[in-house]
Subunit: 341 residues, 3 copies
């Protein structure tokens, strides 16, 4: 797994009431909020008796162990051991760089010297009054994170996994275009002059058939930006266009997958839409609908992991695997390069 | 485990509403019903991404994967891959011969060329209006299947495991007779001039003491036919007799054990009786009573497996193990011969 | 684990209604009560088919297997096999010396020739009308027993783990005195002229500040006697004193830890107090309060075990570990000596 990367560690409000423990890339980590409101993260277990610091108490900027009161700063330094003078050698634990963005706490799992919060994904329309926000959730998948990125780079699954929501047979035969960038891969297609599929029908501000852009960008190691564009039939077809006119419906879906272990992943997401930005009922309904659809993915991917664990023989690849396979290949190179450092 | 044999895979009505997944002899298998009503079975996991085909949909005679729509015929051949031309090499999965008999779906786990449905057990009185049918159930035992066949070939356990149902101390001292056939072993005894035990009291059409035949035939690899005969005291004693006169009570119990893994087994059964064939309430009451008694076996055998797993030292054998030991020995030879092929 | 030692196997009343199975030092054991009321213990699994004898029946002094009726005496000898003459070689199982004391069944896990019930801990005031009895409970800890003895020899944890019950910040800075004996270690301290902590406030028969003795004696392998003494401020300070005058409040807590496996322990306890001996409501309230406080220890120690299992790297030691480390070192020598025998 790639360590020199920012991963989402928690929703910002998950650490409002006290420390929490999370497993990320196999590391057990405790997160808390310092006196100034900034998040902090250290390895989870006290250096003395291995009690999880999530069972301890926040004391100003520090976290204090709930067994003997040892105190740790946000960089992992042990700064106090009650009942004795001084701090023993070896008492420090690992600190992790963290940053808060977009209502989420981000954590850097690799070399702290390389951690630059400026490299966290930029979301230009965040906070804009013209865009509505659908708060997502965080689903725990019992599968490897690459099954999720595979799925995101393979929109053909929509027909089979989401027949009653995202799906629709209209575009089944339209091939996907794959583009590679330094940061990852994008697969996309325009389905032209087709009925609007059920999930989007009430959102699209025009009637009649639509040209629809499906665009799935997945960045290394496991972050996806999904763009949906619906314009009246005849107006679409150009991915690079940005000014779509007053009838366009745009929805950007931000998806952040954090590997907890090789076999378990936590999937955070939210969406921004260009219609009815202040319509709270709409936000709630869309969030619920997306959760329902993502739960369909979860059931399938958990089963895929079970199938692979039960039957580890070689599998075949089909045409729609082109994007996933290229993404996996390049990510594998990045991980290998990191391990050589 | 013996592979060239018919095992029960499911009750026929278990695949009425869609495909199901079962583990049999360690193989994961998906069963469904084809357009013509005949059952079909293939290895469970799609050759592409290992989603269980039980999560897919029946499409005519075929089963279609719920992830990308790959279609498989009943012989395991992959016959369609959506979104591309042709089927990749290696896409086929294993098909299993199946047949429906006696309300059950049977599966052949070995060499398909050797599968002959005519070798499924013959039950002459099946469908006869003179015999009543007690539909059984299917209990999942957390133990090796041979603990169940041991138990069936060792009627002495009845005294200890079923004291309030099948049991009764009358015959405790009567030794069992063991007979070997090519297909398996039969242990039996006549308990003469004894009170009728509680389970049978209301079924026997005469009063007073009975001669009772207990006969347990177990066939390789794990199929048992249990015959109970009650006749008025003085009329019994001859196993080979078939015409017992109007007072006889006969009950044949058919028991089919399917090893799911080395440590887990599924036990299917039903019974045929020669009294009150159309008495549905009686059928239901008998089925419930048998389920209760078999649940006593299940508790003991699951515990025996736990004891053996916890304490794997050598065990002793006692006199009543004669039948089970000979059956195990001969079955072991059959399995060894199969493995040499 | 030390085998030549008496461990608590059960509360005496736990075997009133039939045999029970317990795991002790990794051995599976069945306990029952003989016809004369004395307890008996043998290895759990029948030598024939490994059914736990806890699923069997008590027959006089013997226990009979619930599968085929084999009978075992309290020394483990197989004395009857139904349906045959004689008992096969190898049918005997292991018997364990047991004794009943203080409402508990004690078991000797080592060489039976060395078992002497006179070496079970002596409790002089047991049965005295001047002392009240708080019956404890038995908590199952998912941790190694030495984490519990560590905790008992480290009273500094009280401040952090039991802040609202046993705790109180008054004595935090008072160092513990450690004394070694042949049987184990004692850590103790006098906290002088301090308010009485919440747990004891209603029990102490004087007002105003107290001198308080905290004394934790832990004997090999895992038995603890905790003495609490509260006297009016100015009257304390001498551990050896036994006649404390009419205002003294004394409470002796007896704690018996039985390792079930390396990772699971059962903790039995009761208390004797020198106030209101016949006050049943007080006994019940004290028992409930102790259970609540011990449940705080359990949560912490189970988490410590989880932390150690998850993160097996070396840990640091701090000043308060002095007692636990010396106890572990000496117990390790005793176990090594036993293994050399």
């Amino acid at each position: 797994m790639l360590r020199n990367a920012w991963y989402v560690a928690a929703w910002a409000d998950e650490i409002a009431d006290g420390p929490i423990e999370r497993q990320i890339l196999g590391d057990s980590i405790v997160l808390w909020r310092k006196a100034d409101g900034e998040p902090a993260a250290v390895s989870a277990f006290c250096s003395h008796r291995r009690l999880s610091l999530a069972k301890g108490r926040v004391a100003g900027d520090r976290i204090a162990c709930g067994y003997h009161g040892l105190e740790f700063a946000a960089d992992g330094a042990c700064v106090n051991v009650p009942c004795q003078h001084g701090v023993p050698k070896g008492a420090d634990i690992r600190g992790y760089p963290v940053a808060q963005r977009y209502g989420l706490v981000w954590i850097w799992m690799g070399d702290a010297a390389l951690a630059d919060p400026a490299t966290i994904i930029a979301i230009a329309q965040w906070g804009s009054p013209d865009w509505g926000y659908n708060r997502g959730a965080a689903l725990v998948y019992d599968c490897n994170y690459q099954l999720i990125t595979d799925n995101l780079l393979d929109p053909s699954h929509v027909t089979w996994v989401h027949p009653t929501s995202f799906g629709g047979t209209a575009g089944e035969a339209v091939p996907m275009r794959i583009r590679e960038a330094e940061t990852g891969f994008t697969v996309s297609r325009w389905i032209t002059d087709a009925p609007v599929s059920p999930f989007y029908r009430d959102l699209v501000p025009f009637t009649g058939n639509a040209d629809r852009l499906q665009q799935y960008e997945v960045r290394y190691p496991a972050l996806a930006v999904i763009k949906a564009v619906f314009v009246p039939a005849g107006q679409g077809g150009n991915d690079a266009q940005t000014d779509w006119g007053p009838d366009a419906f745009l929805m950007d879906s931000y998806n952040f997958i954090t590997p907890e272990t090789e076999g378990r992943s936590r999937y955070y997401w939210f969406q921004l839409r260009n219609v009815r930005p202040d319509d709270a009922a709409l936000s709630e309904a869309m969030s619920a609908a997306v959760l329902a659809a993502f739960s369909e993915d979860l059931l399938v991917l958990n089963e895929v992991q079970r199938g692979m664990d039960t039957c580890p023989d070689a599998t075949i690849s089909i045409a729609t695997d082109a994007g996933p396979l290229r993404f996996r290949h390049r990510l594998g190179q990045l991980i290998a390069a990191e391990n050589r450092r």
